[in-house]
């Protein structure tokens, strides 16, 4: 066991720092917890992708800094897993996002490369560079935690499929050109075995997208309705009825480092809490100090746990530690934001930008953070999965 990194890996970090210092757009508010703070919306609160974000993602890709573990033609530089960890650590500790929409580079691009035919693989670079914006059609009104229960139906019509149904909570659909869409192609077999993936161009007749405002009254989500949408057979990804295998998070070499952003975000939250406590004149309050220390100790322990799991991951073994990270970091971040609101005393509910503390950013972050224990698998589902897969308990 040891603390540091090899000189070669430190050189990698130095090169990254120099690149970021030179190229990061000034619009990125570095060093802030940007949960709910920097995602840009139009006058109606509907998500837009700002020009600087498009430029930044393309710049990262062109310099091999978008997905460092990939080869240069896919926006990378064949980085090792440890270098990928350093990369994510460095960006996350500075609060710099790679992209404001993760569907394309994190899910669709890697899935196309793994499961697509040659024509579909050719779509991956643009997905990763952000030139094509993608959404992923998974959740439906009756398929949330029980995702395999999805019922959007694709019926074989010779050269094409005819799609009918509805998706919901579809992130980025309001700005996307294409949807990586999970559909039911066989209703007569067990539910996991009748699902396929189609690429659906969102300008196809019969597609309707309705922005879905969440509790912050912003809309990154949408409902997507399909009415007799004609999708060419060539847009089937992988084999028919084999879609359940094409699961999320296909960036295999980043899997050991997915925890980094959550932990680093929480660490920035702790740093900001300390500043807030001083600003509110509560830095000497014994209860406040204890509560901050409790959260800080958990965040630091989680950080150690992430690195411990990474050591197993880099060795090629499974890392039980990482199964806990999404669950733990999402819950601790909610607690950090809630404490920050408590520190504002009787003014904790004030969000008027003219008078609210720091423009009510803590209140916005708190509201946004409430999604993190629901999206991507609820905390309850996370616990079920850990119970059966990590602890080996019998299924319910």
């Amino acid at each position: 066991m040891n603390l540091g990194y090899d000189p070669a890996d430190e050189a990698f970090r130095d090169e990254l720092r120099a690149f970021v210092d030179e190229h990061a757009p000034p619009e990125i508010k570095q060093g802030r917890d940007w949960i709910g703070d920097d995602e840009d919306t139009d006058a109606d609160g509907i998500m837009v992708i700002p020009a600087w974000a498009r430029r930044w993602q393309a710049t990262l890709f062109d310099h091999g800094w978008m997905i460092p573990g990939y080869p240069p033609e896919l926006g990378g530089r064949n980085a090792t897993p440890i270098q990928t960890l350093i990369y994510l650590e460095e960006l996350a500790s500075r609060g710099i996002p790679r992209s404001v929409h993760f569907g394309g580079y994190a899910i669709v691009g890697p899935s196309l490369l793994e499961f697509g035919d040659e024509a579909q693989k050719a779509l991956a670079p643009a997905a990763i560079r952000g030139d094509t914006v993608w959404c992923v059609g998974m959740s439906e009104p009756d398929a949330g935690s029980d995702l395999a229960n999805l019922s959007t139906r694709a019926i074989d019509d010779g050269d094409s499929f005819i799609v009918n149904g509805q998706k919901v909570w579809t992130s980025y659909a309001v700005v996307a050109e294409k949807c990586f869409c999970y559909v039911r192609t066989d209703p007569d077999v067990p539910k996991h075995k009748g699902i396929s993936v189609l690429i659906i161009d969102l300008d196809t007749p019969g597609v309707q997208i309705r922005p879905l405002y969440h509790v912050s009254h912003r809309a990154e989500f949408a409902e997507v309705f399909f009415t007799d949408v004609v999708v060419p057979k060539a847009n089937l990804v992988g084999a028919l009825n084999d879609g359940w295998r094409i699961t999320m998070g296909a960036l295999a070499h980043e899997r050991g480092s997915l925890w980094v952003e959550g932990v680093m975000g929480a660490q920035r939250g702790i740093d900001d809490l300390v500043v807030l406590a001083h600003a509110r004149g509560l830095a000497d309050d014994a209860v406040v100090r204890r509560r901050i220390a409790e959260l800080a100790s958990q965040v630091r322990a989680l950080r150690a746990m992430g690195y411990k799991g990474f050591s197993s991951f880099a060795q090629g073994s499974s890392a039980p530690e990482h199964s806990f990270m999404k669950l733990a970091t999402s819950e601790v971040r909610q607690a950090i934001f809630e404490l920050a609101i408590d520190l504002q005393g009787a003014e904790r509910a004030v969000t008027d930008p003219a008078v609210a503390y720091e423009g009510a950013r803590w209140q916005r972050s708190w509201l946004t953070s409430l999604a993190s224990t629901i999206g991507g698998g609820t905390s309850e589902i996370q616990r079920n999965v850990i119970a059966t897969r990590v602890l080996g308990l019998p299924r319910d």
Partner: protein, 340 residues
């Protein structure tokens, strides 16, 4: 940050685990209250040779000592190993005391009298020393006197008052420091004492991680086997989620202890925070595992016969030994909240 164990460390863990499984059954743990000689015998036959893990690098390391103490904790090991290797030797090494080499070599045993009347661990002005463990089993007591100062005296020369605690396998005593004893002490640099306290706290934290691990493993195993309503209770979500939260707290503590051990071995500037995090996390993880582990076990876990309460008791006692988790959190807050 690389948490991988070397081949030698893997072997150390396997050897220690086998040693405690074979030589430290719960019958022994339960016997030492009435028969202290059994604890001394365990130490002399099987544990004394491992004290040199407490030597400073390269001969020993905090990482290796922690790995061994985790296994000791899982077994609720009684005897003077923790006092000698986890408390006495680090203090003497930090203070560069004449007996340091003999302590690290396992040639002499000892314990530390440091906690004040309020139970806190740090230089204080009082003359009462509480939470002195296993005085009856060791050769020497390293007494930290007001000032601070340090004096090492023969254990049987001291008048001690034994104090019953929740921990059935470890004896606690308190001492009153008389004037000649205080006068005999050599001055101790407060920074040296702080360093020693961090090493002592980490040793107890490692033991707590072992306690937590046993409780999580045993509770998970029980939930897989125990059938009610026609199915294993581990298939019920309410039970599953409790076990997941116990396991999460254990994993956090385990990683925090390993990280703090690396920081101490590397003399990393982050070591102070890392140790406070480790001790606070370990104390809370072990207590949660004891409390919720008993709940998962239901009635059988509440019996005297079941070994669970041995760990529940040690968890509570160790949480207070070398600083309660609240004390460590408050020290962490001091470091976090200091104007930068």
């Amino acid at each position: 940050m690389d948490f991988r164990l070397s081949d030698e460390q893997e072997l150390l863990v396997d050897t220690a685990r086998a040693l405690f499984t074979n030589e430290c059954p719960s019958t022994l743990v339960r016997s030492v209250g009435a028969d202290p000689a059994a604890a001394s015998a365990l130490f002399d036959r099987h544990l004394r040779d491992w004290v040199p893990l407490a030597a400073p690098p390269p001969d020993g390391s905090q990482v290796d000592l922690s790995l061994f103490l985790v296994e000791a904790g899982a077994a609720v090991a009684p005897g003077p190993f923790l006092a000698t290797a986890g408390l006495f030797a680090p203090l003497l090494v930090a203070a560069d005391h004449d007996l340091a080499q003999a302590a690290v070599a396992g040639q002499v045993t000892g314990t530390v009298a440091l906690a004040g009347a309020d139970g806190t661990w740090g230089p204080d002005a009082g003359r009462t020393r509480t939470q002195v463990i296993d005085v009856h089993l060791v050769d020497h007591v390293a007494v930290v006197t007001p000032g601070p100062g340090l004096v090492v005296v023969a254990a049987d020369s001291l008048e001690r008052r034994d104090i019953e605690t929740l921990d059935l396998a470890r004896r606690y005593s308190s001492l009153e420091l008389d004037t000649p004893l205080v006068a005999a002490a050599d001055a101790l640099d407060p920074a040296v004492l702080d360093d020693a306290i961090e090493r002592m706290a980490l040793a107890v934290a490692a033991e707590l991680v072992g306690v937590a691990r046993w409780l999580v493993d045993t509770s998970v195993t029980y939930a897989r086997q125990r059938v009610q309503f026609g199915r294993p209770i581990g298939s019920f979500q309410a039970v599953q989620h409790k076990l997941v939260d116990m396991a999460l707290a254990y994993e956090e503590a385990s990683a925090a202890v390993a990280h703090a051990a690396m920081c101490l071995d590397a003399d990393d500037p982050d070591r102070h925070r890392a140790v406070h995090v480790a001790k606070a996390s370990a104390g809370r993880a072990a207590r949660r595992a004891g409390r919720d582990g008993m709940q998962v076990h239901g009635g059988i876990g509440y019996t005297w016969e079941h070994d669970l309460h041995l760990r529940l008791r040690r968890a509570m006692a160790d949480d207070a030994l070398v600083g309660t988790h609240e004390w460590h959190l408050d020290r962490l807050a001091d470091l976090l909240m200091a104007p930068s």
